[in-house]
Amino acid sequence: MSEATPGTNERRQKPAPGRRTLLGFLLGSSLLASLASIIYPILNFILPPPTGEVDTDTVVAGRADELAPNSGKIFRFGSRPGILVRTPAGDYCAFSATCTHLECTVQYRGREHDIWCACHNGVYDLQGRNVSGPPPRPLEVYDVHVQGEDVVVARRGRS
């Protein structure tokens, strides 16, 4: 501006750039602060609050007379599924039913005596070890106790 209009009162013009920068800074930072105060609540709102889900350690997975040997069933373990298997020998074992590959729910196959995931043909043995297919890790193993009529499943090391 001052170059385009030579000969104007230089004394009056001189402090202007400093003032202008300061005002620009104040305006810019207030705008930024306002923007932050708008975006911050929105981002927080979008993130769902914790569901307050009880971290289940022990659950009754079924009744003792419910499962015949060489069969399995899915039970609720907190908010996730678990699988209770009765081996051909009549023993109980229980695992997390969430496949370690892409989180499908696995099932017991009586003919093959294994735990199978239908999504990508992942196979686990009756110790929960990933024996074939894409699953990268074994299933989480739970402890099983038969208490009277109930088959109680507990997370390892916490029961």
Binding site: S34, I38, P41, I42, N44, F45, I46, L47, P48, P49
Partner: protein, 356 residues
Amino acid sequence: MPSLLEPLRRWYQERFGDFFSHLVEKKKVPRHGHTLWYYLGGMTLFLYFIQVATGILLLLYYRPSPGEAFESVQFIMTRVRFGWLIRGLHAWAGNLLILTAMLHMFSTYFLKAYRPPRELTWVSGCLLFFLFLGFGFSGYLLPWNELAFFATKVGTEMMAAVPVIGHWMLTVFRGGEQVTGATLTRFFGFHVAILPLLTTAVLANHLFFVQHFGMSVPAAVERSGETRAPMPFFPNFLLRDLIGWYIALGVLAALAAFDPWELGVKADPFAPTPAGIRPEWYFLFMFQTLKLLPAKLLWIEGEQFGVLVFGAAATLWVLVPFLDRNPEGRSGKLFTFAGVAIVIYIVAMSLWGWMG
């Protein structure tokens, strides 16, 4: 940085040329003693955007079924971080939006901005106002609380008074004979799909008309030959708009924080209607009028008479630019007087309804 932006600028220039920049440069806002009223339209638009944004956010948690609606709003208010703020903003901005739309409408009415060639600007604006009332009516039910439940019962019952198609309308709006979960699902559909779709279409037209015909200068100003240079819309008017919007946002946040919108008690269709039931303030004048009408008026029911009169009045209101053919002359004065009478009627009836 300019070197980085330069190819982008050229890419844009090759495709659009001066089309948009020309629109922006061409747009001028007349300057005179009544310029202040021009800000109400932009303010209403701003509040509408707030409604769209907060409404989308609320959709992340809201569940439109009678078993879950109240609980989901409760969840938003108590558990979701800043949920109280977003819901408070949505409820408050909805009310302020209707207020500013109303002021905008009456200011254009009294300044006779509907004069040719701006008839369609007026008509589309009226339709927008009715759509906003529809938003208010349908949104009121969504938290599924006692007040909203009974207000919706009364409001939809009024539809039955419309001759010939009344009962059909009632069934369509309620999704059955009674206000039930089906009504909630329908109102949710109206509120988040049908009304937004219609509003987008009408709003686009309204803004196009404003752009195409420009802003109206009051006849008195035109006559006086007041020749102040118009203000460029960009950036002069827009920056002033922004200041208004910024203040509005502050006011809204303060209202949401210091006067949180109540949730009330969950609706129970088999509980008796609580005392002091009344609709939102913008429907109060109609509510109060219907309360005052006798059971039988002329040869029809009082309620039916009221609904017919309001329907006719709304139609005439939309058609004002085509009825007031001589805004500068005697008919124009008549319309101004009628407008004053309408405002006095609405204010008086609303106050009466509010107190009684």
